[in-house]
């Protein structure tokens, strides 16, 4: 889901955290950086699902350790299950996971790899600036996952290697790559975010993302 101009549509964010103080802090930060956006909140997985179904937010900021409803205690499994459900039901939803132990996301590796929306992780030890960066990346459709998920060897899918080959060996643009691979252009863009996350390449002001990607891919011997 790409960020839409404000004049076209008011952005909607949903923040999910069972700790009221955390919820307040995160909401306040988002309000200051996105004054025009509507910020919704939820403290349980059930409430979040209802809110998402009703308001279809552009972005969800979600804690991993959350309760299913107000009668039970918070569990990481509940957060993981909710994210899995959201990725299945809303494949283009932009998600930011804000947690003290984001490493647990390794359990959802395959689902995250297949997710088409932005997906970033913000450890709760991050500063406001870094946290907002993760929100921005998610709104741009970028993937940023915990290091542990990218470390276990370079798990490159054949289609990602094909994209690298077509882009850097044959110098094709996304539109042409999509034609050659018989997929839509959006899928090719999604492949790029996965490739860049696996290589650890993320948007930086003044730097060309594709060139950075090519350099890293050559460094790792993925292309000649």
């Amino acid at each position: 889901m790409r960020q839409k101009p404000l004049e076209q549509k008011q952005q909607k964010f949903l923040v999910l955290d069972d700790h009221e103080l955390v919820l307040g802090g995160t909401t306040e930060v988002l309000k200051r950086h996105y004054p025009e956006a509507e910020i919704l909140t939820a403290q349980t997985a059930q409430r979040a699902q209802v809110q998402i179904e009703r308001y279809r937010p552009d972005l969800v900021v979600i804690d991993l350790s959350i309760p299913e409803d107000s009668s039970v205690t918070a569990r990481v499994e509940t957060g993981l299950q909710l994210i899995e459900t959201l990725m299945e039901s809303y494949p283009t939803l932009n998600i930011v996971v804000q947690s003290t132990h984001p490493r647990s996301l390794i359990r959802l590796k395959h689902g995250i790899d297949a997710h088409e929306g932005g997906f970033t992780v913000a450890d709760k030890n991050l500063s406001v600036v870094e946290m907002i960066k993760r929100v921005e990346w998610a709104l741009q459709g970028v993937n940023y996952t915990p290091q542990e998920m990218r470390e276990k060897g370079l798990e490159f899918k054949p289609e990602w290697l094909e994209v690298l080959k077509l882009a850097f060996a044959e110098e094709l643009q996304d539109k042409e790559i999509a034609k050659r691979m018989k997929v839509v252009e959006k899928t090719v863009r999604n492949y790029w975010t996965k490739i860049q996350d696996t290589l650890g390449v993320y948007p930086e002001p003044g730097k060309n993302l594709r060139i950075q990607t090519e350099m890293k891919a050559r460094e790792r011997g993925l292309i000649d």
Binding site: H19, K124, N125
Partner: protein, 230 residues
């Protein structure tokens, strides 16, 4: 008569051993549960509070220019506190234990790598791991830690460490967990100086009593190969 008495004594010893083993396992299980509770309190309580404190300070920092210097000092203090709480939580029990033993082993090795840049670590971990009681994973992790402490005792400027975790097929359609640690020293004397038979025997006993596990080792020139199975 003597044979009968000897059999009775052996039986009594065996039953006593089983009772002692059961008591120790129960005790250890309680300890792990308590630690899990404390880790949960840090993760779901203290770390959340330090997060909201930090956010409040950061927002104040933006609003109140006059407070900038003081607020920055507070902010650094809160950051330190958050980091210390994370470290405390990890030292009690790794949070990632619930995400499976492979991730916990990976975290442990990463910590060793950070502390010992001269040592070369190579880790092979499975993508999928079985569901396992927390106390069993704790025993394996702590055993690995003690094994590395013994085998990589300072001063050791260089050594190659290969760690491999896997599930091996065994009888009755069950799988045996196996952790293999291979350490290649620069020379034989480096190996001999570090291998402590008493520590090794203690590890063997702990594994046997707490998780019915086994461990073995062999020395090949200047390489030590240890295997833990459970």
């Amino acid at each position: 008569m003597v044979l009968f008495a000897s059999s009775l004594i052996l039986l009594w010893l065996f039953v006593s051993y089983l009772k002692l083993q059961r008591a120790l396992r129960w005790w250890f299980q309680q300890q792990v549960r308590q630690l899990l509770g404390e880790v949960a309190q840090i993760q779901d309580g203290l770390l959340q509070e330090s997060f909201s404190l930090r956010r409040s300070l950061e927002l104040a920092l933006v609003e109140e220019a006059a407070l900038t210097s003081q607020a920055r000092t507070w902010l650094e203090g809160v950051e330190k506190l958050h980091h210390s709480l994370e470290q405390l939580s990890d030292s009690l029990l790794p949070v990632c234990l619930g995400d499976g033993l492979p991730l916990a082993v990976q975290q442990l090795v990463k910590a060793w790598e950070r502390r010992n840049p001269g040592l070369e670590f190579e880790v092979t971990l499975p993508d999928v791991w079985r569901s396992e009681p927390a106390e069993r994973s704790v025993v394996i992790l702590r055993s690995l830690e003690e094994l590395l402490k013994m085998a990589l005792a300072e001063p050791l400027s260089q050594a190659g460490v290969r760690i491999s975790l896997s599930l091996q097929p065994s009888a009755m359609r069950k799988q045996t967990g196996q952790l293999a640690v291979q350490i290649t020293y620069p020379n034989l004397s480096a190996l001999t100086a570090r291998f402590d038979a008493q520590t090794w025997q203690s590890l063997q006993k702990v594994l046997r009593i707490l998780i019915s596990g086994q461990c073995s080792y062999r020395k090949q020139n200047s390489t030590l190969v240890c295997e833990l199975r459970w």
